[in-house]
Symmetry: C2
Subunit: 341 residues, 2 copies
DNA sequence: TGTGATGTGAGTAACGTTTTCCACGATGTT
DNA sequence: AACATCGTGGAAAACGTTACTCACATCACA
């Protein structure tokens, strides 16, 4: 009943009457163990309830641990990605551990370093906001896949949604419903590199491009705030104050659309009769009956599965050229968008 | 530019002209290092960019890692708890790593074992559904705090919400609004131990008790499904089929209330005019304008902070008697509940 | 001038794996 | 018959840190 000493590989080896090398080989399915040896060793492992120490393993070889960094936990879209990752890794020996971040660069640096310190075999960074320099540094130390950030690198693989096209889907949808004054709420971004690489910037670009393509360049109207509920609230207030109010608002993220709905309700504007509203992400709550938000599905599950696959490939072959996977989003029309009246 | 060898404690020691013991002491703020030594060593650490290997540390001492097990990622209530944990641990050297679970016992076993294998210094288990036996086993191996599960143990500390009282708050609120036919949707539970320990069971008990206390015993009406959106949908359908429809539905969780709203909308019942609806958890979406769900706030942030505190205490002193912390919930009235018409 | 404390620092043996050899016998090839 | 090849298994050296033990000053006190 006392805190009994941990069962080690030495105990297993002795119990099976073989060397520790043999046990190690069996544990790792490594080459050089005969079938009889495998059976003998596995039996001993079973009987003793042996579990290898990740710490000791990490000192020499792998830790069979994959780290996933999330910018936050409240956006269910990230849960979709994670599901894809864990599902793909389900059959393997790898264990996924996550760390949620504070959405700032120092926090991201702290977390990535913590993962490196813990000798993780690979990391998946979801929508990181760190400088490109930092990402490269991480990727040169540990196999890395970056999800939800555009731009290519020789050091890490990427998986992204085609945000440019996704924004186009929304504009197309609204134009087909007869809207012309279609406004957009974006996440303000100054940094020139991020301006190219972050999804929010791509969405804004896609919006502009689609508006031009429909000959609606003169109606382009962007409120620049943040991707938060508060940002949506403020953005909608700005747009309502325009001389010519928009008939449709394309919020860059579902959570932004929630703020928009709050502001519109407060202003006595009804949705979708007076103004149509669309979001982006297809987060869980977008589907709830009372909300029923038109939005864009990013196929988070597939993004996660692809990220996991790329990471395993890279762990297996460190110097493989990097890959960029871009997935196509789909429009999910619901009840917050309607034909113009 | 080549994968340069990692900087170790030996490099730091040589660079500072001291022993590795000294460096180790400084890293851990351990006793026995003079101020001059501290300065000298810290300078060397800085210059060389040294970071200790958690794997090597784990082999002898601590890993400075705390594991948090979550039953799922989509319930934002868990994010609140996590915020509390990370905030409390912010100033320390500990790093929090999470693992999301599949909400079944094999999955929980896999995750807890993975955390033990990785020599984590402590674990926080949030709303675990595993057998008590397994929890005890984990707690005897590694310092453990269990959050959101009632029942005491000599091996682990607990932090819970007073679910019994919380359910009472909801019933009180509805009774004050004039309701008498107040129905409840619970998460079905057979296992006798869990029946006592799980929050859902406590909520159902609290509901029954409060109804009795108000002299409404005859109106007690429970639909037994699951704590999911689907469960709420089915539960509401059952309740609508009663000879005497309830005038208020208390769903055991916010996500259940979402399903209830779907079913009511589908049946042409308006909320709160025809039927009032209340949830539990005060999840993020409950506050969204179009939903505006009356619910109960569990003070997740405080739960997390308390759990972290207890865990640090237990890590410091392993054989301290265990503590049970119970936090009081508060009712958040919103627009889905109204006086009976 | 001894005699303990006390404070500071170093040497060294773990910790539990994996990896790199090497040895040995069996098998195939000239 | 000589020689290479292959399959199997073991011995022992890492890996980077911490815990334990001990040595050596310094200082206070009788």
């Amino acid at each position: 009943m006392q805190p009994s000493r941990r069962v080690t590989i030495v105990d297993v080896a002795r119990h099976a009457g073989v060397s520790t090398t043999a046990v190690s080989k069996v544990m790792r399915n490594a080459y050089g163990a005969s079938p009889e040896m495998q059976i003998k060793v596995r039996a001993a492992i079973e009987e003793l309830g042996y579990r290898p120490s990740a710490a000791a393993r990490g000192l020499r070889g792998q830790t069979y641990t994959i780290g996933v960094m999330l910018p936050e936990m409240r956006n269910p879209f990230f849960a979709d990605i994670l599901d894809g990752v864990t599902e793909h890794l389900g059959g393997t020996d790898y264990q996924v551990l996550m760390a949620a971040c504070c959405n700032d660069e120092p926090g991201e640096i702290r977390i990535t370093e913590a993962m490196i310190d813990r000798s993780m075999d690979g990391v998946i960074l979801i929508a990181p906001i760190s400088s490109r320099r930092h990402l490269q540094k991480v990727a040169r130390t540990v196999p890395t896949v970056v999800v939800g950030r555009h731009g290519t690198s020789p050091d890490y693989d990427t998986v992204t949604d085609d945000d440019f096209a996704g924004a186009g889907l929304v504009v197309d949808h609204l134009v087909a419903l007869g809207h012309r004054r279609i406004a957009h709420i974006e996440h303000a971004e100054r940094n020139p590199v991020r301006l190219k690489e972050m999804p929010n910037a791509q969405r804004a670009d896609g919006y502009r491009h689609a508006m031009q393509a429909h000959g609606l360049g003169e109606f382009i109207d962007i409120a620049s705030t943040t991707y938060t509920q508060q940002g949506g609230y403020l953005g909608a207030q700005q747009l309502l104050a325009r001389a010519q109010r928009p008939t449709a608002i394309f919020a860059g993220a579902d959570i932004v659309a929630m703020g928009v709905l709050d502001a519109l309700t407060e202003a006595g504007v009804s949705v979708p009769e007076d103004i149509s509203v669309a979001g982006y992400d297809d987060t869980m709550f977008a589907a709830f009956g009372p909300i029923s938000l038109t939005t864009v599905d990013q196929a988070g599950h597939q993004m996660g599965a692809n990220a996991a696959r790329l990471l395993l490939d890279r762990i297996a072959e460190r110097n493989r050229p990097t890959a960029q996977i871009k997935l196509s989003p789909t429009l999910i029309p619901r009840r917050t968008t309607a034909p113009i009246s």
